[in-house]
């Protein structure tokens, strides 16, 4: 498996009127080609911001720490994303090596330009195809993602397609430049559940066919369980648990992950009550000290959890969690 992406110590703060808000705090992970990595979290977890940081798409008041290092390994060599200064340099990466799809497909297609024109425009920027070649490739991609009558759809506008088809068209557009890495930011959240199932299947097929890496961002653990190989659970900008999907979902170690799983309504056990995670997600202006989760943690240790930021402890070979309790229980 070739390593595709390495993120080390990504820390991102925003300069706002209310002060410096920490959105992402010391996040590290790696992704190999052909793998699907899930970033799971609720609002304020920083998962979208993390993904956008990979293409430096965050707004202008974003401040990256010096220790942040994002390395993209392409066939042509390794690219240090943090060192790319301006849009011209970033253009190689954005849309070319890395593609992104969003939650709201209506928002990512320009409403007054046909879908076909937008796809062709992207190809003309990133590849050496001419207009005719770009058109052929686009229609082929539309067909590939399961849009029937692709040639007709090529000439349609975004509002003429249904939600599911728009999302597929967006996937087609994202994949037409054959990116090495696809970032999917809540791609199925706005879709009906039967359409969601179709889109998830599609994405898994594409991973196999194209050999890409996918970073799949969502709040839905069920979707992650079905699509991802690895998962990182984020809370208030920090990764609290990381590992293979099987390990994290079957044997969660961090209290937050356990809480999330317990709060999920489970179809197999209709009698068990829904256990909520107590309290509310703190606003980013009120970041708790020490372990960011301690204000809502039912097993928090008085003292240590409030003051000391927990480091990662290994739960098993492919599974680690940042929790003092896991540490004291003794990892491998």
């Amino acid at each position: 498996m070739t390593r595709l992406l390495e993120v080390d110590n990504l820390t991102l703060q925003f300069d706002t009127d209310e002060g410096r808000i920490t959105a992402v705090d010391d996040v590290s992970f790696a992704l190999d080609a052909g793998q699907v990595m899930g970033l799971v979290g609720e609002s304020g977890s920083g998962k979208s911001v993390t993904a956008k940081a990979l293409m430096k798409l965050n707004p202008g008041n974003a401040v990256y720490s010096d220790k942040t290092k994002i390395t993209l390994h392409l066939e042509s060599g390794s690219v240090d994303i943090m060192s790319l200064r301006n849009s011209t340099e970033m253009q190689v990466v954005r849309g070319g090596a890395i593609s992104m799809i969003f939650q709201e497909p209506m928002a990512s297609f320009a409403p007054a330009i046909t879908i076909g024109d937008q796809m062709v425009e992207q190809l003309l920027i990133h590849t050496k195809l001419n207009k005719k070649g770009a058109r052929e490739l686009s229609i082929e991609m539309l067909d590939r993602v399961g849009i029937s009558d692709a040639a007709m759809r090529f000439g349609q506008y975004a509002f003429e397609l249904s939600g599911g088809m728009r999302q597929r068209a967006m996937i087609a557009m994202a994949l037409s430049t054959k990116p090495k890495l696809l970032i999917a930011d809540e791609p199925t959240t706005a879709l009906d559940v039967t359409i969601q199932a179709q889109v998830i299947d599609l994405m898994k097929d594409l991973v196999t066919d194209f050999g890409m890496g996918i970073i799949f961002i969502t709040h839905d653990l069920g979707v992650i369980a079905q699509t991802a190989d690895h998962v990182a659970v984020m809370y208030l900008g920090r990764i609290v648990e990381q590992g293979s999907v099987r390990d994290v979902i079957r044997t969660p170690a961090h209290p937050y992950t356990k809480g999330l799983l317990a709060a999920l309504p489970n179809l197999h056990d209709l009698d068990s009550p829904l256990v909520a995670v107590p309290g509310d997600i703190p606003s980013p202006l009120e970041r708790p000290s020490g372990c960011v989760f301690h204000t809502r943690c039912s097993v928090a240790l008085a003292g240590r959890c409030q003051t000391e930021i927990p480091r990662f402890s290994n739960v098993s070979a492919n599974h680690r969690a940042a929790c003092h309790l896991v540490e004291t229980k003794g990892g491998i």
């Binding site: 009906d192 069920g222 369980a225 997600i281």
Partner: protein, 332 residues
């Protein structure tokens, strides 16, 4: 105490005229078509469906928040008996104090310029249910405490609160007039998972405490499974199946219900590939297919399905299904 249902609909249809052609035939959107439904007292009744199913419209029709085109809705709580299609004037105002709505979007449902106390007190003041400011304040405090909002919160404006807290304010506002019937329209859909469980538990405990009847509208079957006593499934404006919750999830009979259930991503990573995937898109409500509305995507459709629309038939104790082939498909 009668054992008549609190609210029941007979052949209820809600059609919206489509703008556009002045000359051509009038086009209508058949949002709800021929629905028969009975909701018993103190029942937590779930209504599920995807986009275009008409579930929101049905909920609003039962509150007379949207005009009823055909059919009857009868409300009978032992004190009064209203026929919603002909309800107006003082009786309509009275009905408003007995039937309320909890909205989906906690950010749009609260007037940003009013304090929480004023928001919750508004129904009391508009409906003239209290005689003095002290009485209003007393009632507001009472319901706020039930929704776990404290006195501090009452002085603040909505922008001070998180999504989950705002939804609790919404709930408090809906309940302050002590209604008998509450429609919760996707009330937890916009909330994070860890907060969802909290709000759901709150709704359930309030329902038991105040003896309310809930119509819980959701697209999320697993949520409905945990909290509702009885479930109705809608597709394109029609009821396709209704049953007590356990029965529906243990033995679904309509092909759409089966597909819906299997499309829910399972939390078991090894459960992949077992889902029965539905092909195709949801038809547009302006141009529904003839016969059974589900026939375009149904893997079991036969000739009769394409010409004759199936009616709801009894298939078990309190279990109704609208499908021509339900018997044979059960025996398979």
């Amino acid at each position: 105490m009668t054992d008549k249902p609190l609210i029941s609909a007979r052949d209820l249809s809600v059609h919206y005229p489509m703008r556009g052609n002045v000359l051509g035939p009038k086009q209508v959107v058949r949002a709800v078509e021929g629905v028969n439904i009975d909701i018993e007292r103190s029942n937590f009744y779930g209504l599920v469906g995807e986009s275009g199913s008409g579930k929101t419209t049905l909920g609003r029709a039962m509150l007379k928040a949207t005009p009823i085109t055909h059919g009857d809705v009868t409300y009978d709580d032992g004190q009064v008996r209203y026929n919603l299609s002909t309800l107006k004037g003082a009786e309509l105002k009275d009905y408003r104090s007995r039937a309320q709505l909890i909205f989906q979007d906690p950010y749009a449902a609260l007037s940003p310029r009013m304090t929480v106390r004023d928001i919750i007190a508004e129904p009391l003041e508009v409906m003239g249910l209290t005689k003095s400011r002290e009485e209003t304040d007393q009632r507001v405090r009472e319901i706020a405490a039930k929704c776990r909002l404290n006195l501090e919160h009452l002085r603040r404006f909505p922008h001070a609160f998180s999504g989950g807290q705002r939804q609790r304010i919404s709930i408090a506002r809906a309940l302050v007039s002590r209604p008998q019937f509450v429609v919760a329209d996707e009330s937890v859909a916009a909330l994070d998972v860890s907060i969802q469980a909290d709000v759901l538990n709150l709704l359930k405990s309030i329902q038991q405490d105040m003896g309310l009847t809930f119509l819980f509208i959701s697209h999320d079957l697993s949520v409905v499974a945990h909290i509702c006593d009885h479930v109705a499934v809608m597709y394109l404006g029609r009821l396709v199946e209704t049953a007590p919750t356990r029965d529906l999830f243990a033995a679904p009979q309509h092909p759409y219900t089966k597909a819906l259930l299997s499309a829910i991503p399972s939390l078991d990573p090894d459960d992949r590939g077992k889902a029965q995937k539905l092909e195709g898109e949801i038809p547009s409500p302006t141009n529904p297919p003839p016969g059974c509305k589900f026939q375009t995507r149904c893997p079991f459709a036969i000739d009769i399905c394409r010409t004759l629309e199936p009616k709801l038939e009894k298939s078990g104790k309190e279990h109704d299904v609208a499908c021509h082939r339900w018997k044979e498909l059960m025996e398979e």
